[in-house]
């Protein structure tokens, strides 16, 4: 729970600072690249952890099939529920 609050706080603080114009223009211009850089570093670390873990390496094929099943079900579920909401709550033409 504490990590949830921390993540939310970081998002809000960052959003507030930039919305109010407190972020230095040079940082603002670089923000896309900074996000990308963070992402790459994090992905690298994650890849390293995966490589260190023998259990995962051997389970790769099975994980792949499970991943596809999860994604198909989540996408189907999302479309279905949104469709139901649209039908219930939209009077005007779709």
């Amino acid at each position: 729970m504490s990590s949830v609050l921390l993540y939310l706080a970081l998002l809000i603080v960052g959003g507030f600072l930039s919305y109010k114009g407190f972020i230095h223009k040079q940082l603002m211009d670089k923000i896309d690249k900074l996000q990308l850089a963070c992402l790459f570093i994090l992905l690298f670390i994650m890849g390293m952890r995966i490589g260190m873990d023998d259990k995962i390496i051997s389970a790769f094929a099975k994980i792949g099939v499970h991943a596809v099943i999860f994604s198909v079900f989540t996408v189907a579920g999302s479309i279905l529920v949104v469709h139901i909401f649209v039908k219930i709550f939209r009077r005007k033409e779709a």
Partner: protein
């Protein structure tokens, strides 16, 4: 990799992940706050502004839990994967300290979700409805899949896609930790 990095360093990666993650979320917040018109654009969409993201969350969770049940996963793990909502990097990063295996699974399934979204958005827009075409993307509806939604629907739906992706992006770091 196990040849170059001794296994004792595994715990250090937990701390590194946490620091990197905090930085990333801070930058994401800055990026979102950059758009001065963000509040006006949002008012135009009506009640669907809330219903579409809520619907995607409910649908993703139900879908993930049902699929996970069939595969034998505990509900909390299925829920964690489902609440990634297509954001494959963040969900995997948050799950990594809990279980490296689940983290990889979350990563892969959300990557596949994004691929499915790219393929399905035009079809859903054409055969089911414009608003429903936002559903496959999830959190990516505000950036990577936004151009695809925009091209296959109209500008009203594109704004809704952006706001939906925005809300969902904020929800991912809230929902995923709740399940693990």
């Amino acid at each position: 990799m196990v040849f170059f990095v001794p296994e004792q360093y595994y715990d250090v990666t937990d701390v590194l992940l946490m620091i990197g993650l905090c930085l990333l979320l801070f930058f994401v917040g800055i990026d979102i706050g950059k758009n001065k018109n963000v509040f006006q654009d949002i008012k135009k969409t009506g009640i669907l502004f809330f219903l579409v993201p809520i619907g995607i969350v409910i649908g993703s969770l139900i879908g993930a839990i049902v699929g996970g049940y069939l595969l034998g996963y505990p509900i909390n793990e299925s829920g964690a994967i489902g609440s990634g909502l297509g954001w494959y990097t963040l969900s995997a990063i948050i799950i990594a300290p809990y279980s490296a295996e689940l983290s990889v699974l979350a990563f892969l399934s959300n990557v596949v979700r994004e691929i499915l979204a790219i393929a399905l958005i035009p079809l859903v827009a054409k055969y089911i409805g414009y608003v429903q075409a936002i559903a496959p993307s999830g959190a990516t509806a505000m950036d990577t899949t936004l151009p695809i939604v925009s091209k296959n629907t109209n500008s009203e739906t594109a704004i809704l896609s952006f706001s939906t992706g925005l809300i969902l992006s904020i929800l991912v770091p809230i929902l995923v930790p709740l399940f693990i």
